[in-house]
């Protein structure tokens, strides 16, 4: 496909079909991850280590749900029905990371979602700040502005726990589990999926470059916090066995029924006016 800097796509119809499909899949993955991540933040509004941390979780939950809402709405242009996307899909159609399947049971687990997964999503969004797909341009700014504080929250807590022996060990354990799924989430190095988007100028980085940017963002924080995570060093071999490119995850499984019911708003369905 020919590509010039002047190529601008004003609607999904203007995109070549494979690019349109790849972009829709990426936006849906971002939306679903943010929808469920908001739920995981929300579960810590009560029970966070301090009142301030609880307020921060509440704010981050609201931010994520706002971002998800914006992203689901953009999918309307791709002929998805936002109501169906938000309220009517079964668990295995949610494109959430395996890290979000279960609630973060301990605070370090939430920090892994906060510092690692949330940043991975932001790195992907940042790759669209100069996108050739015009409708997304106006959405990225507010979203990334809010995300700066999510990153800073994760960073501040990593530094805090890094100062405490037990905290540091717990954080290392939680981060160790999360690094692989985050690195893989950007997709296989050879995926046509990512390539299509780069060639069309919709994103400015392929999976390997996104991985590099993500590592560049988080490794200074890990160092600041004194965490030792060899998984982030060099070109750690990524396991691709069982990789599901659509769901961007290797692990089977899905959201549990209770979380799904809350994500979809099942219990309040009768309250919907239309």
């Amino acid at each position: 496909m020919s590509k010039t800097r002047t190529d601008v796509f004003k609607s999904p119809d203007a995109l070549p079909e494979p690019v349109r499909e790849a972009l829709a899949a990426m936006l849906l993955s971002l939306a679903d991850n943010k929808r469920v991540l908001g739920m995981r933040y929300g579960e810590w509004i009560l029970g966070a280590p301090t009142l301030e941390a609880g307020i921060a979780c509440s704010a981050m939950a609201q931010d994520e749900w706002g971002h998800a809402r914006i992203l689901y709405a953009t999918l309307k242009d791709f002929e998805f029905e936002p109501t169906v996307l938000e309220h009517e899909r079964p668990a295995d159609e949610y494109l959430n990371s395996e890290l979000l399947d279960d609630p973060a049971t301990e605070w370090p687990d939430l920090l892994a979602l906060n510092l690692l997964l949330d940043s991975a999503l932001s790195v992907q969004v940042e790759a669209m700040t100069e996108s050739s797909y015009e409708p997304i341009l106006f959405k990225t700014r507010k979203l990334l502005e809010e995300e700066r504080f999510h990153f800073e929250h994760g960073r501040g807590w990593a530094m805090r726990l890094g100062d405490m022996g037990a905290g540091r060990a717990a954080l290392e354990a939680a981060f160790r589990k999360a690094i692989g799924p985050c690195l893989r989430w950007f997709g296989r190095p050879d995926s046509g999926f990512g390539r299509q988007l780069v060639d069309a100028g919709v994103v400015n980085a392929d999976a390997d470059e996104l991985r590099r940017r993500w590592l560049e963002r988080i490794t200074p924080v890990l160092a600041e916090a004194g965490l030792e995570l060899p998984e982030t060093e060099g070109k750690a071999a990524l396991e691709w066995e069982g990789w599901n490119a659509d769901r961007r995850r290797a692990a089977e499984g899905a959201l549990d029924e209770e979380t799904l019911a809350r994500v979809r708003g099942d219990r309040n369905r009768s309250m919907l006016m239309d």
Binding site: P49, E52, A59, F149, E152, G156, R160
Partner: protein, 78 residues
């Protein structure tokens, strides 16, 4: 305000417009300046601030009174 060991109180100042003066708008407890910034921004989000800054309470020096700064509320000073 009770706070955890390893935490400090941070005072928050903000203004809504460039031409406004910075006003003291509140306090947060945080283990480091990074989290103090996040907590301040997320807790005191009632306005779209032009500028917000934080400083540790213990960095302030009383000038004309013996009490520690920020411990006297307006009603008590009457």
């Amino acid at each position: 305000m009770g706070h955890l060991s390893g935490e400090r109180l941070y005072e928050i100042f903000a203004r809504q417009k460039r031409e406004d003066r910075l006003e003291h708008i509140g306090t947060v407890s945080a283990p480091n300046p990074e989290l103090a910034r996040v907590y301040a921004w997320k807790t005191y989000d009632e306005a779209s601030w032009f500028e917000m800054v934080v400083a540790p309470r213990d960095s302030f020096r009383a000038v004309n009174r013996d009490e520690l700064p920020f411990t006297l509320h307006p009603a008590e000073t009457a």
